[in-house]
């Protein structure tokens, strides 16, 4: 399911490119369950600002997170044109609110450049690599790193 598999299969990785907070990102397609329009959510008390609330996804209650907010890129202005990308992180399912989703990219893993920025605390960054596509650069997002602590904090 993860990197090992994909690298074994001729180093081709498929990404979905999306934009949030004015920046271009891409997420491995294997972690994406579906893409849907924004619909009203039910707010959760005592939640982080980036957690917009919970949504009913065919009977499952999934939290919806503003990706831009989570990344510290400000708050996404919510409108009917926003897109929710439903992702699976480990056993958890959640929705990410993004500005738009553009395309599916098949890229050779060798074209991904490492993220040269270093974190002062030595921790792993949630941007694991940079992917140049035509004249733009997409940030390869590691969702499990981004949401590593989610779910434990409130417990």
């Amino acid at each position: 399911m993860t990197d090992d598999d994909t690298t074994d299969r001729g180093n081709i990785i498929e990404f979905v490119s999306l934009s949030a907070g004015g920046q271009g990102f891409c997420v491995e397609i294997t972690s994406i369950r579906e893409i849907r329009r924004w619909s009203q959510v039910t707010a959760l008390p005592f939640s982080e600002d980036s957690v917009l609330g919970v949504m009913n996804l065919r009977g499952a209650v999934i939290p919806i997170v503003d990706l831009a907010g989570r990344l510290g890129l400000g708050t996404t202005e919510i409108g009917s044109r926003n897109i929710v990308v439903v992702v699976a992180i480990g056993s958890r399912i959640m929705g990410l609110l993004v500005d738009s989703v553009s395309e599916i990219l098949s890229v050779n893993s060798e074209t991904i450049r490492p993220n040269p920025t270093l974190r002062r605390d030595g921790g792993t960054s949630h941007v694991t690599g940079l992917l140049p596509v035509e004249d733009v650069m997409l940030r390869v997002l590691d969702l499990s790193a981004l949401f590593a602590n989610e779910g434990e904090e409130a417990a």
Binding site: T42, A43, L44, P45, N56, G59, I62, M94, A155
Partner: protein
């Protein structure tokens, strides 16, 4: 089906059988039983024995055999159910459950712990057969169930005149079509018989039709067997136990003067016109034919003889009785979860359709609306049905716990009265399964540490018989399970001393009673001065606490010196249904668990009193109840300001009352609980979520947590810790 999954099925069945066994024994103990109860008990043990043999679990076979022998004597009225016997067979049932469990986990079980028990069972059985004169008449009295065989029996009994050195059995074995459908192989059975003694086999193929009339799925062959050197038909019956109901089996002793060459010809002659597949006929013909031979049956066969005649009805009884006994269906829980979700969607879908129709101007009295009502009714019914699959009563678990307590009582020599209540309380199956270990531990603790010895109890003026009570109940959206004993209560001084000793607390720490009690849950804490077999291995309550916490639950202790301790486990019902009151809070809709709602009030302005800044109390019939503004507590926008007339819901939770100010009260209904923890995490003050008719999510409020949230002084822990 792989061997592994077969084995899984075997153990699952064993569990069910042990359950039947326990139920039967409980009935015996309560005195409400009849012969069918005894039969059911016997069958349960017998079936375990049969199946264990098939899987090569010889230890289980050995044990069940000894057990079964005693049960068989009871079944045939040769042994009275005295309290001693009842205790013996109850202990055996407990031991059997443990053996099955060990075998499941470790692939084999040692008989060492039960050697004494086996010896006891054996000697009980021997004592009976020694002093009981051959009483065939009484023994096979139940046989009269089968009128056809009565004449045969009647002939039998006076028969056994002369002794026969060459005891033997003549067996007619005619598999039915279902025998083959179930994957049985006649050769296996013949092989097993050959191990018992000298076996001659003749196959009767007379009934095989010409090829054009041949049904490939049909059963045409009859085996005529003669087994020399075996007088005990039970051994043969055991071999055929698996094929009970799947074949026609006739066993009779070899007649003394019987012509050994011609022995098998007579019965088949009657067969060609009785196609075995459908008719029970074959039973009759051999039964009649052998009777002249039987008249010469040998004396020692007197006891086998009744057994022989009795055995055919046994499987038959088994078939008949199998119906009233509750059988279960094993389904992958994920399939049920999918169903639950789909049904939830169905109900929401109904709401959507009905809203759309209304907006099209379809009147409520139109036919389509009436049909839609039926739709809703059916959907609700399906929903209830599906939900009830996932939830299971705690009964099975409690029965198992009864065994644990009995074992613990035996091991410690303390007389214990185990009381279980609320056995019909339903919990999600997953939770139920994972509760077994912590509960076992807690109950052992209660017996081992909680209850005093009989002498001490007497000295304290208590009845010698200690009480351990296990209860389950639904309380404000949780399942609450309590383990209570009427022992000495927690010895706080000793706990504190031990904790100091182990460096769990600082010497100058001032601890409240509750804090001392909670030290029990500290890792590595064990108060037992001597390590007993039962508990006190140092992995104690902390493991219990961790397990319960991993199920999203909490454990608490309350203890009164000299009167006992109560451990309370409170668990969420992840997939259960909750009776809720649907309320409007600001722009959101929320659900209050109806269990904690006392009443709703619309008070006069003068009933609300401000205290200091922002704090308010509501006076209800002379009592002052703190007011909680839900919208404010949960940081939501309130649609109406405080000036507007609002409704108040009085909640009673965790021993305290609060008045919850809400913007509207919309409905009372059953809601499906959807856990937030799987995808998000626990939220303070919120128990779970549910999906409303319009597809929107409403949060279900945790009344007890809400009480704690708004009056943190009531809690030992500071509020910050909760959110950290």
């Amino acid at each position: 089906m792989s061997n592994d999954s077969l084995r899984e099925t075997f153990f699952a069945e064993c569990e069910e059988l042990v359950e039947h066994l326990t139920e039967g024994l409980d009935a015996l103990a309560s005195g409400e039983w009849d012969s069918e109860t005894i039969h059911a008990i016997f069958r349960a043990v017998h079936s375990i024995k049969g199946a264990s043999g098939a899987f090569g679990y010889s230890d289980l076979v050995t044990f069940t055999h000894a057990y079964e022998t005693v049960l068989d004597l009871i079944r045939s009225d040769a042994l009275d159910i005295t309290p001693e016997i009842l205790r013996l067979i109850t202990r055996a049932s407990d031991a059997l459950a443990v053996l099955v469990d060990t075998t499941r986990q470790e692939g084999a079980a040692s008989l060492d712990p039960v050697r004494d028990l086996i010896a006891e069972l054996d000697s009980t059985a021997k004592a009976v057969s020694a002093d009981a004169p051959p009483e065939p008449d009484f023994v096979f009295a139940p046989v009269t169930l089968l009128p056809i065989e009565v004449p045969g029996d009647a002939d039998d009994t006076p028969a056994g005149a002369d002794a026969a050195a060459d005891a033997g059995l003549v067996i007619s074995f005619k598999p039915l079509a279902s025998f083959y459908v179930n994957g049985h192989e006649p050769q296996r059975f013949l092989g097993a018989l050959a191990e018992l003694g000298d076996l001659s086999v003749r196959c009767d193929s007379q009934s095989v039709p010409p090829l054009d009339a041949f049904d490939f799925d049909g059963a045409y062959l009859t085996w005529h067997l003669r087994l020399l050197g075996v007088a005990d038909a039970d051994a043969v019956n055991d071999i055929f136990a698996f094929a009970a109901g799947l074949c026609d089996l006739e066993i009779r002793p070899v007649g003394a003067g019987e012509d050994l060459t011609d022995w098998s010809v007579a019965p088949p002659a009657a067969e060609p016109d009785t196609p075995a597949d459908t008719l029970p006929g074959p039973d009759i013909s051999p039964a009649v034919t052998p009777s002249p031979n039987v008249s010469a049956a040998p004396v020692p066969a007197a006891s086998p003889a009744p057994a022989t005649e009795k055995s055919p009805p046994a499987p038959r009884g088994a078939n008949k009785a199998a119906n009233p006994i509750q059988t279960t269906l094993r389904v992958d829980p994920e399939r049920v979860d999918r169903l639950i979700n789909s049904v939830g969607e169905l109900i929401i879908n109904h709401a959507v359709i009905s809203q759309k129709l209304e907006s099209c101007g379809v009147g409520n009295d139109s036919e389509i609306m009436a049909a839609l009502d039926d739709y809703r009714y059916l959907a609700r019914e399906i929903q209830e049905g599906v939900m009830s699959i996932r939830a299971q009563p705690v009964k099975t678990l409690f029965q198992r716990m009864g065994r644990v307590v009995r074992e613990a009582a035996d091991a410690t020599g303390k007389p214990v009265n185990f009381i279980s209540e609320g056995e019909t309380t339903e919990i999600d199956k997953t939770i139920l399964e994972r509760l077994a270990d912590p509960l076992t531990h807690m109950l052992r603790n209660s017996v081992d540490h909680g209850l005093e010895s009989a002498e001490k109890r007497r000295a304290a003026g208590k009845p010698e018989l200690g009480k351990v009570r296990l209860t389950a109940a639904h309380r404000s959206g949780n399942v609450v399970i309590e383990v209570a004993d009427d022992g000495a209560g927690l010895d706080r001084e000793r706990i504190l001393a031990k904790a100091l000793d182990k460096g769990l607390v600082l010497p100058d720490a001032k601890l409240t009673e509750a804090e001392i009690d909670n030290l029990l849950f500290a890792p590595g804490f064990s108060t037992a001065d001597s390590i007993t077999n039962l508990s006190g291995r140092g992995v104690g309550m902390d493991v219990v606490k961790t397990t319960i916490a991993s199920l999203g639950g909490k454990v608490g202790i309350s203890s009164v010196h000299g009167q006992g301790s109560t451990f309370t486990i409170s668990l969420p019902l992840t997939l259960a249904v909750l009776d809720g009151m649907v309320i409007g809070v600001g722009e959101e809709t929320m659900v209050l668990p109806l269990a904690s709602v006392v009443e709703t009030v619309r008070p006069n302005r003068s009933d609300i009193h401000e205290i200091g800044s922002g704090e308010r109390v509501l006076s209800v019939r002379g009592a002052y109840v703190p007011v909680v503004d839900l919208a404010k507590t949960f940081g939501m926008h309130s649609a109406g300001s405080l000036k507007r007339d609002r409704s108040y819901v009085l909640l009673d939770a965790g021993g305290a009352s609060i008045a919850v100010a809400v913007d509207s009260i919309q409905d009372q209904r059953q809601v499906v609980i959807k856990s937030l923890e799987g995808n998000y995490g626990a939220v303070n003050g919120i128990a779970a979520a549910t999906i409303l008719g319009d597809g929107k999510i409403a949060l279900i409020i945790d009344s007890e947590a809400l009480v704690e949230l708004v009056s943190p002084r009531r809690k030992n822990r500071p509020l910050i810790e909760l959110e950290a």
